[in-house]
């Protein structure tokens, strides 16, 4: 089975043009993109992504503007490539869950990832996603019991996001035997690819991730590369991570 890999970008970072270009470029190498809608209190993010989000907010971020750039990229990108939102619960509640989902669908978003909405709080949003034929991405973690992993994995759509470490984005990838076993269990029960996130930064961590799971998501390292303002840095890291 070929790997199913994604990349993460902070919406409109470092600016509108570079973001749009990077989103296009990244989709040439990866199967899906995870687009962060910046939030003032990003509790799942480490310093690199939090600082990038903060810079976008300080520059006067507007969600409407981000919808525009996403729509543009969607129209020109390969239709098999998927676009996901990654944001926090307050952003969704603020815009109204239904309105948020409808607007996102209109511009061609395929699904949503919300790290502070756990499985137990996801019912309403899952229903809305289902009605609009969008994927609601579930998280599994090493803290989950086997029973929970079976339940979450069986319900997975799009892909299952396995948070392989205890920590925030940009932390080191360390997977113990027990976690490796749980990833395996998730793969058995999930109808869609099981993807490792958090801690993927270079060839070595990519190899490790692909030994364990069906694919990976790279974020912090790419955001850092794009933060230099040089597309070349971003592109060469995309190539290195995907082996193209």
């Amino acid at each position: 089975m070929t790997a199913y890999n994604g990349f993460y970008l902070v919406g409109n970072y470092p600016d509108f043009e570079l973001f749009t270009e990077a989103l296009r470029e990244g989709l040439r190498y990866f199967d899906f993109a995870e687009i962060g809608i910046p939030f003032s209190d990003p509790v799942a993010d480490g310093p690199v992504i939090a600082t990038a989000a903060d810079a976008v907010l300080k520059a006067g971020f507007k969600w409407e503007k981000l919808l525009e750039s996403v729509q543009k990229v969607r129209q020109s990108a390969d239709s098999h490539k998927k676009l996901y939102w990654m944001s926090y619960a307050n952003i969704l509640y603020h815009h109204g869950l239904q309105n948020f989902i409808e607007r996102s669908k209109e511009v061609g978003i395929d699904g949503i990832i919300v790290p502070d909405i756990p499985f137990v709080e996801s019912e309403e949003l899952k229903k809305l996603c289902h009605q609009h034929r969008m994927d609601y991405i579930h998280f599994a973690t090493p803290e989950n019991t086997d029973e929970q992993i079976k339940r979450i994995a069986s319900a997975a759509q799009g892909f299952l996001y396995f948070v392989s470490i205890r920590g925030v984005t940009g932390s080191r990838l360390l997977v113990d035997d027990e976690t490796a076993r749980k990833i395996q269990l998730a793969k058995e029960y999930s109808p869609v690819p099981v993807i490792l996130g958090f801690g993927i930064r270079d060839k070595k961590t990519v190899e490790r991730a692909l030994q364990l799971a069906d694919g990976f998501i790279a974020g912090t390292a790419l955001v850092k590369a794009l933060g230099t303002g040089e597309m070349d840095n971003f592109t060469s890291l995309c190539k290195q991570l995907t082996g193209n």
Partner: protein, 391 residues
């Protein structure tokens, strides 16, 4: 007062909006707390500590001179007399025993003004547990004496350099620490905020204020007060007081928020009054936010009220009209602090001064009424600010 639903909701507010990683820890905490409540040994331990260590019951004092001056019968529940100088200790004593009951060896906490940090460092020293306190850099600067107190008590104070570098960011960093160390560590939240079961549990631990108040007030006056008034930041001292009177329809509960410099965005912290439904720090509640859903900057002269969120149960009490919420400006709070000092010889915390300040601003509305105010803390910690602002 009612328990929240099984999923941790008070009406439309509450829940558990946290990373999947924390869900089992919250379940475990919930189960441990259910059994802790029924454990006679531990309940006796808590009772003993509350009386012999903390100094409960705290008295109700009738403020005779000031009452006469303003024609309102003012009664003060003296939480300022509790060990460490504020109501915070009721909660930290309860949670530290729960930590021990769960067999965890380390506690972390967030602090704004430093009161909850000091109360946590105190109980960690009492039981010999490791203690790390997250505190925003801005707060470390403006509450320097409390930083030294925490260090003297053996805690480590970790400066928070992200975001606005105040209380809200300290909570963010404490949550991140908890995600990393969830197996060894209990997060000792200081108010009725955060994911379920915290809002319920912290209210329970603070409900001793309301229980005592009701009994004491009846003994003193033969009746119940007309109003029970408390300041609201996250809202723990207010829920502690209100919980004693929720079944008494004749007693009106009033929460007073920080009106700050003005009611324009960024200049106040009047969340219930001006907030919109939103999610911050693990629960769905009212929240001060801008038109993009970003959490608004807030301001209050009192660091303990300088918070853009509020406990979910307050949002519920507001929506169902079981309690009323108003606000008091920085200026009125500072004025109230001086008035109580001069007329009664009591220097209240600037947080508690908001509750008094609201009554002083509207004294004609409360003429000849019996008003019970929760004097949640003492003002020594605020001396530098009081000197800068008024003396």
């Amino acid at each position: 007062m009612r328990r929240p639903s099984r999923k941790g909701y008070f009406g439309n507010y509450g829940g558990r909006f946290v990373a999947e990683t924390l869900i089992n820890a919250l379940d475990e905490l919930n189960q441990a707390y259910e059994s802790f409540r029924e454990n006679q040994d531990y309940q006796q331990k808590l009772k003993t500590l509350l009386s012999h260590y903390a100094g409960r019951p705290t008295p109700i004092y009738f403020a005779r001179r000031l009452s006469k001056k303003i024609s309102v019968n003012l009664y003060l529940k003296r939480e300022d007399l509790l060990h460490t100088g504020a109501h915070k200790l009721n909660n930290t004593l309860g949670q530290i025993l729960l930590t021990q009951y769960m067999g965890k060896k380390r506690v972390i906490a967030e602090t704004g003004a430093g009161q909850h940090g000091v109360a946590t460092a105190t109980v960690a020293a009492l039981l010999g547990l490791e203690c790390d306190i997250y505190m925003g850099e801005v707060d470390i600067e403006r509450q320097a004496p409390n930083v030294k107190r925490m260090e003297l008590l053996g805690a480590r104070v970790i400066p928070v350099k992200t975001g606005s570098r105040t209380l809200k960011d300290a909570v963010n960093e404490a949550l991140k620490d908890w995600v990393r160390n969830v197996q060894s560590t209990h997060y000792l939240i200081g108010s009725v905020v955060g994911p379920h079961p915290f809002p319920w549990m912290v209210r329970d631990f603070q409900s001793v204020i309301g229980k005592e108040s009701r009994r004491q007030f009846r003994k003193m006056t033969g009746a119940l007060p007309d109003y029970a008034v408390a300041c609201v930041g996250g809202g723990s001292n207010a829920l502690g007081l209100f919980s004693g009177f929720m079944n008494d329809p004749s007693v009106k509960c009033i929460g007073v928020e920080a009106g700050g410099r003005a009611l324009t965005p960024g200049d106040h912290a009047a969340t219930v009054t001006l907030g919109k439904k939103g999610v911050l720090h693990g629960s769905l509640s009212l929240l001060l936010q801008d038109e993009e859903g970003q959490v608004s900057p807030v301001h209050s002269v009192s660091a303990g009220l300088d918070y853009p969120g509020v406990g979910p149960e307050h949002s519920h009490l507001h929506e169902t009209k079981k309690a009323e919420y108003y606000h008091c400006s920085d200026e009125s709070a500072l004025q109230a602090c001086q008035t109580l000092a001069r007329w009664e010889g009591i220097i209240p915390a600037l947080e508690s001064s908001h509750a008094l300040g609201y009554i002083l601003d509207h004294q004609s509305r409360y003429k000849d009424k019996d008003v019970l105010i929760n004097l949640s803390g003492r003002g020594d910690k605020d001396l530098a600010i009081i000197i800068r602002e008024v003396l």
